[in-house]
Amino acid sequence: MASPSVRKRLPATTFNLTRRMDVKGRVFEVALLMAVAVTLGAVAALISQVFFDAWPVLSGRFGQFLTSGLGSRPEISGIAQGLRGTLYLCFIVAVVAFPLGIGSAIYLEQYAKPGRLTRFVDLNIRNLAGVPSVVYGILGLTVFVKGPFVGAITGGRTPLAAGLTLSALVLPLVIIASVEAIRSVPQELIEAGYGVGATQSEVIRHHVLPYAIPGILTGTLLSMARAAGEAAPLILVGTTTGFLTNIPAWWDVGQVRERFTAMPIIITSWVRQPETGFKVEGAAAAIIVLMLVVVMLNSVAIVLRSRFEKRRQG
């Protein structure tokens, strides 16, 4: 790039065009680079440590680890029930939180008249997104597990009660992500719709939602990944930390009203065991499985996003 003439001194004229040493600029750039390096380094160290710990399980008996149930002997114990529990929780969150959250976002953005009440609701949703998950656990315990009527429907300490709790936890996140996606729809597109005589609901269904869908999907699936990794609310809701005797079939929907466990719970209970088979190898392998679940959810989000974005190009 640099031509040889750059190396020579510039001829001295009234205009000084010589490149100066931008010390502050360099320091700033290096500081930002350090921030990236520290972040990536920490993540890499964590993941490699987990892989290292989990290696005996991953290399020796990973298939058996996925399909066997919990047990007292670490070398043959697996996470089958936890995997079912986590996937059913995700399913319940998808069915409950997504329609409620996306629907609320559309109403708040498109129908609600801006005013004190709307601002109040908006502010509170943003605050709820920052409430610690334990608080949602207490809500789940009092309402979904022990609440009158509701408790009877959920059957107590079941995936249904826990799924509803996690839905409440991610609802503010889903609403915020959807609201932001809806706000990013260009005003010109909305006006184009009204300009040719579309009603409000037609504008929303034909123009606003198709445009906002990639953003909504990304936000909602990321919040589902968050739900999949939560342990604290599940502990309060009363997820089983000990053994479960049977492994229900994947398609057995009845298990949403049975006692259950989930991946984060298995991990937290195994690290408290004395045997290294549980404490180190098992827990690390379970972490890898949970990470795979989350990565899969995120990949689905990315694939869907790019597909819908392509459609947005017309």
């Binding site: 008249k113 801006p114 260009p186 010109e188 597109l189 909305i190 006006e191 184009a192 719709g193 009204y194 300009g195 040719v196 005589g197 579309a198 009603t199 037609e202 034909h206 123009h207 198709p210 445009y211 459609r311 947005r312 190009q313 017309g314």
Partner: protein, 292 residues
């Protein structure tokens, strides 16, 4: 003429027929030309800011009326109040009347969606839907319930009127976003006339286009004014002089009561007179380039 402005529409159809029967009588520039649109004591405010105050402006049928004036004079606000586009702005308040063939479009029984089907709008920035060219055109007729059998014909006639048919007839199914800016704007005009409106409102339709594309659009406006009443807001005075039959000059004046600038109509006349021999000093200063 079938008008379906109000729900229920029954009691208003007579009124429409009575006023529109004179439409064909005089196509010249005489005072007898029918007022397709008429603003009466129209004021539009956003919150406590008044964008336009006490406007009286008749828009004659099958003519091109240009609205010119410096930024902030309320001309775009007036245009948007002509098909209730201002309804989309929550803080907007409209006082007075806008008569469309004698019906006040701000009457509580009037459905703004129906108003916009008869009074269509073309915007400053070309804003095609992210759909195919074909789907862009038929969207308006489709939601209005036009039978599918008529789609092909509507697409061809709208694109022909918008002088775009020859350029796109072989790729009607490709994305509207693949067109150039000028083509997109003509597509937006085609989309606006596909619903068979009476009035076409154009909000600085050429401001994002190069001179050649602008010339295309101006030619097209001349072509279609035999069928539509056109109101155009423009910053380009040459454009107003070239295309319009009548011109309304707006300016922003300091309101002594509120110390805020408020848009108002200064002069409305035949375009030749506005540009050749204006009655008001402010108009003369503006069109000769002394301010604004």
């Amino acid at each position: 003429m079938t008008q379906k402005l109000m729900r229920p529409p029954a009691q208003t159809t007579n009124e429409v027929d009575r006023t529109s029967s004179t439409a064909e009588a005089d196509v010249g520039l005489g005072a007898q030309v029918e007022n397709v649109l008429e603003a009466r004591h129209l004021s539009v405010s956003y919150g406590d800011y008044t964008a336009i105050a006490d406007l009286n402006l008749p828009i004659k049928g099958k003519e091109i009326t240009a609205m010119i004036g410096p930024s902030g004079c309320g001309k775009s606000t007036v245009l948007r109040s002509f098909n209730r586009m201002n309804d989309l702005v929550d803080s907007a308040r409209v006082k007075g009347e806008v008569l469309f063939h004698g019906i006040d479009i701000y009457h509580p029984k009037v459905d703004p969606v129906e108003v916009r089907r008869h009074i269509s709008m073309v915007f400053q920035k070309p804003n095609p839907f992210p759909k195919s060219i074909y789907d862009n055109i038929i969207y308006g007729p489709k939601i209005a319930g036009t039978p599918k059998a008529e789609y092909d014909e509507i697409v061809e006639s709208s694109l022909t009127k918008a002088a775009l048919w020859d350029e796109v007839k072989d790729r009607l199914r490709s994305s509207a976003l693949s067109l150039s800016g000028g083509q997109q704007q003509r597509l937006c005009i085609a989309r606006a006339i596909a619903t068979n409106p009476d009035v076409l409102l154009m909000d600085e339709p050429c401001s994002a286009l190069d001179p050649i594309a602008t010339a295309h659009i101006e030619d097209l406006m001349h072509e279609i004014k035999t069928e539509y009443t056109i109101v155009i807001v423009t910053h380009n005075m040459q454009q107003a002089a070239r295309v319009s039959d009548r011109t309304a000059f707006f300016t922003a004046e300091n309101d002594p009561a509120s110390e805020r600038r408020t848009g108002q109509l200064v002069e409305f006349d035949f375009t030749e007179r506005i540009f050749g021999n204006p009655a008001d000093k402010r108009t003369e200063d503006y069109v000769t380039g002394r301010f604004g």
